[in-house]
Symmetry: C2
Subunit: 396 residues, 2 copies
């Protein structure tokens, strides 16, 4: 892959999920060296107005809105610009298939599965910001990446950190991969207080400004569990080689330990533009406007072991990772249902982990847990888990 | 270079300075997988008995004692073993020239200059534990490395850390190299108390067990200054790209900052066997018995800026690095004289930095500062600086 530079031809890029947080950060970065990139397609789910603004500003060739209801609005906003407007699920998949050098896969949730899978078929570089591809359909997705010769680059800060700290030379000398967790807003709370936490408490993340769903996942530590599952697939390691370390300052994102006693750690100020820049420029680097890290100013970095009694979601996610066979698909679906219900104040904070565990157990008892081998079976298992989770929710 | 493994042919290795701390750690490591290594030559300065023991244990072909006075003792101890005994400076150089895959250059002081320079002429791998090659003769030594196609690998923990954290892909995206300093035993002392410090105080290093000279250099922070000078040559960076960060726990050894906001750090428990293992196996890794790092157990890593008013040696070393033209040769020689005098209680702790600064200034005024272009001019400047340092010492 070429390094972005004034002399090389620009990198052709499609951004799936352009109006979300990662999509916006990607476009912010690209706007700083516009000659290095050529935007091919931008997509969004509902926000036609913002999508049109971005498409015009970045001179995209195609703009796709997922929800057909907003097609007319998009078409009108793009009239006379020469930018092609499309809509609907199939159009998202079609956009992902337009030949480019790199697809930023930043659609949130299982909705991202089909377009991202379609993008892998190009054999291009996939900058992956969607969790579900690996959590809900890991083995199948990784097979598609391999079969089509795509290059998969993680966009979250933890996995980007692992990638940078991993040495390609001695895979047999790898001892352990550790991803860090801030510990979330309830790190210092006791079990009783956590049990009574409301959504407002849980949405106060100490370090990162993120979407509501992932902020709740940070409070339960489910987010770290999901990241372990992602790391297992991304880096081809066993569950025993994966660990979580609570590090409230979120300065160190990942640590890779080797059998010679050496540990390589990746650090950065919390700014998604750093992992995005790495994925766009890999194996080179490109400049990003992230605040330089000043450890003397920060003063101290602290570490503690995660408490799986206070935060059972982490324990449950680890168990699902070891179980495999669709357990992580079920985990993710049930968790999403439970988080939505918590945000709607329909259940208490500890119920989130409980619903996830009950859903995996009931699917296992029902004989429904089987590793999805294609998109259809992954989506079917996801749906079945959502239904079961709703049942468990109703029975609370 | 081959990876140590049971199937590959063993790595032929010579250890210059086998009875010192780094030499012993090297042989300790090698004894754990003896089939992976073939010891060709071992050398020592005075300790014939220990040298003979090591040569027999590791089945060396040649054993060289630097000091002729101990030749007879060595010869007698090796009688009947088939190991060739030699002595004298020229024999040290000859030992370094016996063809091998790797030379561990662990002779302390300027005495290491000639044998290590001779080793580079093989074009083999040089595991460099000698400071003077880079501090007293950096440009000349690096030219020899390049001219003969040798591979230079640093053995101290800081530079080994930098090597591991450096990405070969985007040298233009490198922002800064930071090496850490424990801060030494006087980190929390005030200027008045430091002025009255005696050798016993200065020899209490908080984290590392090392020789007396380097322990005093850690107390003055001159050691960090010398390491910056080494880093400048090893990694081809400008003085502006080099920084020192005080980190009392000595867990992080080096940090490399990139222009995308990412910082890669190398950590390890303080054990020289980790950087030695890396140099022996590079670009692969080999196992080392270093205690695994447990950050949750350590709890906190702290950082502060170095205080160049309390520790002027660091400021003086940085100035010498920027000055070039033999200033670092003079710095090293004068510092060695001053540290010896401090250990002999002939001067006060703050005089160490003062003597170093005065020596550089007087050589500069006398027109003697000129970049050494060969071994002879390096040794001559070193000697002249020692003489001047003795004069300044006498004038205190």
């Amino acid at each position: 892959m070429r390094q972005p530079s004034k002399t090389a031809s620009p990198i052709r890029l499609t951004v799936l999920g352009a109006t979300g947080s990662v999509g916006q950060s990607t476009l912010d970065l690209i706007a700083r060296t516009p000659d290095d990139f050529e935007i091919v397609a931008l997509t969004a789910q509902c926000n036609a107005d913002e999508l049109a603004t971005l498409a015009i500003r970045h001179r995209a060739r195609v703009a796709v809105i997922g929800d057909d209801a907003h097609y007319q609005a998009l078409k009108e906003r793009l009239a006379g610009t020469g930018i092609i407007a499309m809509s609907g699920r199939d159009s998202l998949v079609a956009a992902a298939q337009i030949p480019v050098d790199c697809v930023m896969a930043a659609i949130v949730g299982v909705a991202g599965l089909a377009p991202t899978l379609a993008a892998t078929q190009q054999g291009c570089r996939i900058a992956l910001a969607n969790k579900e591809c690996l959590v809900s359909a890991g083995p199948m997705f990784m097979r598609a990446v391999r079969d089509h010769g795509a290059t998969l680059l993680p966009v979250d800060s933890e996995h980007s950190g692992v990638l940078q700290a991993l040495s390609a030379h001695s895979p047999d000398m790898l001892d352990k991969i550790t991803i860090t967790a801030s510990g979330g807003p309830f790190r210092t709370w006791n079990v009783t207080r956590i049990a009574a936490a409301n959504p407002e408490d849980a949405l106060k993340h100490p370090n990162w400004v993120m979407g509501r769903k992932i902020t709740i996942d940070s409070a339960t530590l489910m987010n770290k569990g999901l990241e372990l599952i992602e790391a297992q697939h991304l880096f081809g390691v066993t569950p025993d080689q994966l660990d979580v370390l609570v590090h409230p300052q979120s300065v160190i994102h990942a640590l890779v330990s080797y059998k010679d006693g050496s540990v390589l750690a990746q650090m950065a100020s919390p700014d998604m533009r750093t992992p995005i820049a790495l994925a766009l420029a890999w194996p080179q680097r490109m400049a990003a406007p992230t605040k330089p890290l000043d450890l003397a100013e920060i003063g101290a970095l602290t570490f503690e072991r995660p408490d799986e009694t206070k935060f059972p979601a982490l324990r449950i996610a680890k168990a699902a990772m070891r179980m495999g066979e669709g357990a992580t698909t079920a985990l993710n679906a049930a968790n999403e249902v439970a988080v939505d219900a918590f945000l709607a104040k329909r259940l208490k904070f500890p119920h989130i982990a409980q619903i996830a565990e009950q859903t995996i157990e009931s699917l296992l008892r029902g004989g429904s847990l089987k590793e999805p081998h294609n998109l259809e079976t992954a989506l079917a298992l996801d749906q079945e888990a959502r239904n079961q989770a709703q049942d468990h929710l109703a029975a609370l």
